[in-house]
Amino acid sequence: MNIMPYRPMGMSKWVDDLFENFLNRPLSGFDSREVMFSQPSVNVREEAAEFIVEVAAPGLTREDFHLEMENGYLRISAEKTQEDEQQEAGKYFRREFNFTQFQRSFQLPDTIDQEGIAARYDNGILLIRLPKVEAAKKEPVKKIEIQ
């Protein structure tokens, strides 16, 4: 057991590894505008017993999402299966977002209990819960009495 310096701003290793794999982003001729329009924003939160990933992808349904674990990577992808008939591309006057198809990947730490991963889609946000394995859970602060 090492005694490590307390680093309040230090992030866990997963966070260091979090920078997503740019190879997974669509290149689309380096048109950054297109990437911005179709890539959902993601928040990651670490709690004592789990990590929580929130993906802001409005306008989809639960069935459109796919979550896959492969070689320690979590791949989040979506493909809109039912495009509204009236909303074909030609009728758009102005278009600033389009989340009909995307993919983002994140490298996970090995302290994640992969069997326990759960997700739900609510009000346009996909919320993924990634529980930590028992050994990695943070213990509650313990007060030491002065004798």
């Binding site: 928040n43 709690e47 929130e54 409005p58 102005r94 600033e96 977002f97 889609y121």
Partner: protein, 127 residues
């Protein structure tokens, strides 16, 4: 009376990013569609509830706003979006029937339907 170029749904608010990263107000992304009965505005505003929105038409300007009062957790390891109050304005054609504007919120998208008066074009004869 001024003559100005006809550019419905034009405005000077240009969203610079997808979603806000702080508590400040943000400009949500919008799509505008032409429909048979008029126009439809789609606003990407995930994480709200129906009662957070306010929509009003003042002259030819449509104001769409959303209020967030809830607290946000702040121990984020990575933060690309936040859920905060917003307001967005659109200049709409004066053929929109204000009393018939409808809105619904579904899967994080606020859809505002703006029905249009049917006005037959008038031909002007050259004398």
């Amino acid at each position: 009376m001024r003559f100005i170029a006809y550019k419905p749904f034009s405005h000077n608010q240009v969203p610079t990013r997808n979603f806000p990263t702080s508590q400040r107000t943000f400009v949500p992304r919008a799509n505008v569609l032409k429909k048979e009965e008029g126009y439809e505005i789609e606003l990407a505003v995930p994480g709200f509830s129906k009662s957070d929105f306010e929509i009003r038409l003042e002259a030819e300007v449509l104001h769409i706003s959303g209020k967030r009062t809830g607290e946000e957790k702040d121990q984020y390891a990575r933060r690309e979006f936040g859920i905060s109050s917003f307001e967005r304005r659109f200049i709409v054609p004066d053929t929109i029937v204000g009393a018939e504007i409808q809105a619904r919120y579904e899967n994080g998208v606020l859809r505002v339907l703006l029905p249009e008066k049917k006005v037959a074009p008038r031909r002007v004869e050259v004398a």
